[in-house]
Amino acid sequence: MIPELGTVALALALCMALVQATFPMAGAHKGIAPWMAVARPAAMAQFAFVALAFAILSYAFAVDDFSVAFVANNSNTALPIYYKLTAVWGGHEGSMLLWSLVLTLWTLAVALFSRALPAEFAARVLAVMGLVSIGFLLFMLLTSNPFERLSPVPAQGADLNPLLQDIGMIIHPPMLYMGYVGMAVAFGFAIAALLGGRLDPAWARWSRPWVTVAWMFLTAGVALGSWWAYYELGWGGWWFWDPVENASFMPWLVATALIHSLAVTEKRGLFKSWTVLLAITAFSLSLLGTFLVRSGVLTSVHAFATDPARGVYILTFLGVVVGGSLLLYALRGPSTLGGSTFSKVSRETLLLANNVLLIVAMGTILLGTLYPLVIDAMGGGKLSVGPPYFNTVFVPIMSVLMLLLGVGNLARWKQDSLGRLWRHLRLALGGAVVIGGGAAIMLASDAFAAKTAMVALGLILAVWVLITSIQSIWTQLSDKRSLAAGLRRLPAGAYGMVLAHVGLAVTVVGITMTTAFESEQRLRMAPGDTATLSGYTFRFEGVEREKGPNYQAAMGSFTVTHDGEREATLKPEKRHYLSGGKPMTEAGIDAGLTRDLYASLGQPQSGSDGAWSIRLYHKPFVRWIWLGALFMVAGGMVALSDRRYRVTRRRKAGTPVGDSPAPAGGA
């Protein structure tokens, strides 16, 4: 009986979404205040119903209700309770429910924090989000109801894919979804602005905090995915250019472009149409990501569904969203053109270049990801695009981007001169070349030139971004006599920007160092055998039997020594889950700021000496890749605390919305 209540809750949520999408929209159009006022209660009720459905599904998992097909397919009585609860999004139907829950959560947030916005505008934003929600709730009810019953009821569930029984599974999908679905807010703001014909700096200022929050979640989600793959797949890789990874990376690139273009729109009233297009693109890519990942087009651990009806539905939905919003853009966009001018040498130009480069990067990834699908769909045979393609294309684009980032850090709005820029940048450039290049030559002295050049490029760019970012703080100080007072007077946005850019530098250092200096050995090891890589000696001590809550494991033990000193003990595992024959590799990792030591077990080898196939890695600076992402998230958080967002909210309550000049700095 209880699972049926779940379906009812979803149906009621759909009704609420319908109300939320229609009345406020019509009310905003005709200027009927009571109709617009429906939006907030409807959004709250919709959230309540979806949350109820989610709670009911969680309950079904908690009590092992295998009469629900989704529970039977994704859980097992032996599963620990925390994995039972996270198994809710361990399969297609439940992850769609999580999608809806996150969407209604964002909608609720918009409903609660939009009181300072003009009623019409807020009503339109909520209505657009209601429309998106209708799409997903209908999708669930028509093609993937998580509450569908199973008959006869099995005595035991099929179990959650062991790969997903991990801490990464608990946090990665919700983070990523918060980011994906957060783009729906940016989309809602953009569409509402198009409908209302008001694409102005105030609109950009309202959107910015929302886009920043969504971008933070997306950043964290992508980084977590990378970290998870690194330790869970046992290959020591942190990015595979897998279509599924690309599906989460493309919205991130566009969201990053959107953050920068919103800065220009807010401060200078420029790039409005472009910003709207970016918001539409970011959300469309989130939907495309959902389609790619969930439709079974890409078969991987992420693709739960193989039902073509679902793929067709999402594709149609995607078509309606993209087609509809572009049509609206075509009809309403041009009338909102205009704004001030800027010179060729200015921060605006550099931010435009930033946007172009990010979009080009996204486009090349999109082509590499979709090309095999298109060729296959047209009967051209199976093929795949190798990771070298992505690296070859991506590295040059990002290098140019980082070079320009340094210039942009110091460039003035509206008009600047090459002479002034050169005077301000030559020291930073010299410093970057000397520090980065010097470090590269020292580190790679024994390697051949191509590698040294690559390391030098990566480190020089990272140092360049670092120096110019700090320099940008210095040049913004209004009062250079008292450093402390000047620093205090800077807007939080300026600090957020610097933090995020430093994060990029940190990530690039990590990528450069890991790629250039990692060492790997794949070998056959019997207990007592040793292997040395990069000065670290790994001694294989043997394998012991271990028993987990719902699995049995062979746990290997490696003692690692460096210069005769004991450095670490690694305990990689090979797990066999009781519910099925899928063996799982758990890498043994000793993490450090400057290096990771990594061991994973392959298979027991033939022969009587107890040998295994083993993978050993030394990964210098690999943590920096994710550390950089943490910096970026922290930067977003700091930027959010900027007074300007709060001030406008308070001011808005009393006076009509004006195009008030924003404080300087903090693009």
Binding site: T364, K382, L383, V385, T392
Partner: protein, 154 residues
């Protein structure tokens, strides 16, 4: 030209330059990194290239896996039930690699007709059949093995 037009022209040039450079990069990198799939039958018919990386897939033939006792070298045969391809691989096999399992290997065909694999892929789930392999089996007229049976689930 008005300053406005000049600016626009300049923007268009900038965009074109970026797109042009990216396209050039894209095309060369793309050409070099397209990896085609060939079924064992196609390999047997000589349709697969020599000295260029491609993918081959099929079922690992029963009793064909030979491990070396000194190192990680392994020899096995994949089949689409009509034709076989012998494969050598030096590395750690994926967890789900076993006889009877559908796998895909990336690598090059040597002159002796032995496929030298750089990578062996068996996907994350034992119920999963690589779509390439399923298609090759179908073309070869074989019945899909039991592992195709589960249409849904993780």
């Amino acid at each position: 030209m008005t300053p406005r037009r000049k600016k626009r022209l300049y923007l268009v040039a900038l965009v074109l330059l970026g797109v042009g450079a990216a396209t050039a990069l894209f095309l060369t990198a793309f050409q070099e990194n397209l990896i085609l799939y060939h079924s064992p039958t196609e390999v047997a018919e000589g349709k697969a290239p020599v000295d260029r990386t491609f993918r081959v897939g099929g079922l690992v033939k029963e009793d064909s896996v030979e491990h070396s006792e000194e190192d990680l070298k392994v020899r096995f045969t994949v089949t689409d039930t009509n034709h076989d391809v012998p494969i050598v691989y030096d590395g750690v096999l994926p967890d789900l690699f076993k006889e009877g399992q559908g796998i895909v290997a990336n690598g090059k065909l040597g002159g002796d007709g032995v496929f030298v694999a750089e990578k062996v892929l068996a996907k994350h789930d034992e119920n999963y059949m690589p779509p390439e392999v399923a298609e090759s089996l179908e073309k070869a007229g074989a019945k899909p093995p039991h592992s195709m049976a589960r249409p849904e689930g993780n």
